[in-house]
C-alpha cells in the first residue's frame, strides 16, 4: 500500500507575521518558512507505518511555487520515498489544492492519504475533507491515533468533548492532529540522501485542474489592539482591580 502525504510550505510557526500597510496581505518576504507543523506529523506517521511494514511507499506532495521543493526534501529526509511538486505561482485555495490532489490520487492510487488537520497560515482546515469528498473516500479528521489492518483503519479522533474512535474502510483520508506523534529530527546523512530521491514536477494544467481562486481577499488588516494593561503589585491589588475596576468577579 502506498501513502500520499500532502505537505505545505508556510511561515514558520514561531514567527509573528506583520500585516502589510497597504492591506493587501501579510508580509512574508524574507521571513523564515518551514513545513506546516501538522504536515510534519503526517509525514512522521506515514514513515512509522512504513517502518512497521503496513505500507510500501510514502509519497510526499506539495502544491505551490518552486521553493516548495525544500519542503519536499524535508519530507524525504524524514523518510518519504519520493516527492511530487505541483508547481504554480498562482494563489492556491483549498478547493483547488483538493482538486490537484484528487488528480494525483487517481494517478497513484494510494491506500491512504495522510494530511495535516490545518495549515497554520490560512487556518482553513478544509483540504483533507474536500479531498475525501472529491474522491468519495471516507475521512477521519483530527486523528490522534491510527491503526491500519485488514483493509481498514481504526482512528481515534480529537473531538470537542474528548476522544472518539472510528473504523473506516481503505482507501481513506486521514488528517493529523497535534498529539498523533512527535516528529523526528532530520539528520544530516538523511538530508544528503533526500537530495538523491526522485522528485517529479507537474503543472496544474498537466493534471487538468483549473486553480482559479473562488474567494477574493478584499483586504487584510491588523486585529484590534488591546489597550495596554497594568502590572499589579500583589494578590490583594489584583483582587481589588478585578472586583472594583473590571467588575468581573
Amino acid at each position: 500500500m502506498k501513502i500520499l502525504v500532502p505537505v505545505k510550505r508556510v511561515v514558520d510557526k514561531d514567527i509573528k507575521v506583520r500585516v502589510k500597510s497597504d492591506g493587501t496581505g501579510v508580509d512574508i518576504a524574507n521571513v523564515k518558512m518551514s513545513m506546516n507543523p501538522f504536515d510534519e506529523i503526517a509525514v512522521e506517521e506515514a514513515v512509522r507505518l512504513k517502518e512497521k511494514g503496513a505500507v510500501t511507499e510514502v509519497i510526499a506532495v506539495s502544491c505551490g511555487d518552486a521553493k516548495c521543493q525544500e519542503t519536499l526534501r524535508t519530507a524525504m529526509a524524514i523518510g518519504a520515498d519520493r516527492g511530487i511538486l505541483v508547481e504554480s505561482d498562482a494563489e492556491l485555495q483549498p478547493l483547488a489544492i483538493a482538486k490537484l490532489l484528487k488528480a494525483l490520487v487517481d494517478k497513484e492510487q494510494p491506500g491512504l492519504i495522510f494530511l495535516g488537520k490545518q495549515a497554520i497560515d490560512s487556518d482553513d482546515n478544509q483540504v483533507g475533507q474536500m479531498l475525501a469528498a472529491l474522491t468519495d473516500l471516507p475521512q477521519a479528521t483530527f486523528a490522534s491515533k491510527v491503526e491500519v489492518a485488514d483493509g481498514k483503519a481504526t482512528v481515534t479522533r480529537e473531538v470537542d468533548s474528548g476522544l472518539e474512535t472510528l473504523s473506516i474502510t481503505l482507501p481513506a483520508v486521514v488528517t493529523a492532529d497535534l498529539r498523533l506523534n512527535e516528529p523526528r529530527y532530520v539528520t544530516l546523512p538523511n538530508i544528503m540522501k533526500a537530495k538523491k530521491k526522485q522528485l517529479d514536477t507537474f503543472k496544474p494544467e498537466d493534471l487538468g485542474v483549473d486553480v482559479a481562486p473562488r474567494l477574493k481577499t478584499l483586504k487584510v488588516s491588523e486585529p484590534p489592539k488591546r489597550g495596554a494593561g497594568v502590572k499589579v503589585a500583589d494578590v490583594a491589588a489584583l483582587f481589588e482591580k478585578l472586583k472594583n475596576e473590571a467588575k468581573v468577579i
Binding site: V26, Q129, L218, S221
Partner: protein
C-alpha cells in the same frame, strides 16, 4: 446536538445566519433526535427545523451527515456550520461536493457575500468575498452572540434520511466528564500551563480557583502534552477558541498559538514568574509572582 439537546454553538451560528439575511432553517440530523429538533424549534430567529432521523446519523459521521446536507442544499444560498470539531469535519465535504469554496471560522458578516475571518493564528484579519452561488461557512462561535434558546416557534418538518454510506462506522468514545461550565461557553476560564509541573499540582492549585469562580478549566498545549490536563481543555489555535468575560492564565508564557485562542477575552489576567513572558503583553492585569503562592492567596481572597 447530542440527539437530546442542542449545543450552545448552534445558538451563535443562528445569530450569524440571521446576519446573512433571509429565513433561517435548522437541520437536525441524528437518531432518536426528536428532543433536539424540538429544542431547535424554540430558538429565536429560526423559521423552520428540518429533522432527519436514521441510525446512520446517530454519531455525526461526516460521510452521512454531508450527504444529508447535500440532499437539501439546493434550496439554500447560505449553509452555515458552527466551527466546532463536528462542523469543521462536515462543512468542507459539503463544499467540495457542491464545487464551491468554504469560508472558515468567520467572525463577522459584512454583506451577504463578504465576511471577516482571522488568519495566521489570529494575527491578521482577512475580509473575503465569495464568488460562489452558495456560501458554505463555518462560524467562530465567540464572534457572535448566542441567539435566545427560547421564544421561537418554528415548525418541525421531517425529511427523508439519506442512506448510510457504509464506509465508516463509529466504534466508541471517551467523553471527558465534567460538571463545570463548557469551556467554549464559560463566562470565566482559569487556565494553567507548564509551570504547574504535574497533574497533581494542576488539580491542587487550579481546581479550587475554578470552583470559587464557577469557572471552566483550560490549559496550554504544554500542559496538555505533559499530561497535566486532558486535551479537550486545550485553548489555542489548534484547541478551543474562547472569549470569556475573564480569562486567568497561570504559568502560561503566552506563545502565539495560545494567544490565538484567548486574546478576544474581555479581561485577561496573567500570573507568571517571568516578567518577560509574552502573556503580559495582552494581559489587562499582570501579576509577577509564583503561581503556587499567588493562586491560593487569590482563592482565599475570593
Amino acid at each position: 446536538h447530542d440527539n437530546a439537546s442542542i449545543k450552545g454553538a448552534t445558538l451563535n451560528t443562528v445569530t450569524a445566519a440571521v446576519a446573512c439575511g433571509g429565513d433561517v432553517h435548522v437541520l437536525v440530523a441524528g437518531h432518536n433526535a426528536g428532543a433536539a429538533a424540538q429544542a431547535a424549534s424554540k430558538i429565536a430567529g429560526v423559521a423552520k427545523v428540518i429533522h432527519a432521523d436514521a441510525p446512520g446519523l446517530e454519531h455525526g459521521l461526516a460521510e452521512n451527515v454531508a450527504a444529508q446536507v447535500l440532499a437539501i442544499a439546493s434550496n439554500y444560498s447560505h449553509i452555515l456550520f458552527p466551527a466546532t470539531a463536528s462542523g469543521k469535519n462536515v462543512a468542507p465535504r459539503v463544499a467540495a461536493k457542491l464545487d464551491v469554496a468554504q469560508i472558515s471560522d468567520i467572525t463577522k458578516v459584512i454583506a451577504v457575500d463578504t465576511f471577516e475571518r482571522p488568519i495566521y493564528a489570529g494575527n491578521a484579519i482577512a475580509t473575503v468575498q465569495s464568488q460562489d452561488a452558495v456560501k458554505i461557512i463555518t462560524v467562530r462561535t465567540t464572534g457572535f452572540d448566542a441567539a435566545a434558546a427560547t421564544g421561537g416557534s418554528a415548525q418541525v418538518e421531517t425529511a427523508a434520511a439519506t442512506a448510510d454510506a457504509g464506509k465508516s462506522s463509529f466504534v466508541g468514545s471517551e467523553i471527558a466528564k465534567s460538571d463545570r461550565p463548557e469551556l467554549t461557553a464559560a463566562k470565566i476560564i482559569v487556565s494553567g500551563g507548564r509551570a504547574l509541573g504535574s497533574k497533581e499540582k494542576f488539580d491542587e492549585v487550579m481546581t479550587p480557583l475554578a470552583d470559587k469562580l464557577g469557572a471552566a478549566l483550560g490549559a496550554s498545549r504544554a500542559a496538555v502534552d505533559a499530561g497535566y490536563a486532558p486535551n479537550d481543555w486545550q485553548v489555542g489555535q489548534t484547541g478551543k477558541i474562547v472569549a470569556p468575560q475573564l480569562y486567568v492564565a497561570a504559568g502560561i508564557s503566552g506563545a502565539i498559538q495560545h494567544l490565538a485562542g484567548m486574546k478576544d477575552s474581555k479581561v485577561i489576567v496573567a500570573i507568571n514568574k517571568d516578567p518577560e513572558a509574552p502573556i503580559f503583553s495582552v494581559a489587562d492585569y499582570g501579576l509577577e509572582a509564583d503561581l503556587f503562592t499567588a493562586v491560593p492567596e487569590l482563592v482565599k481572597a475570593l
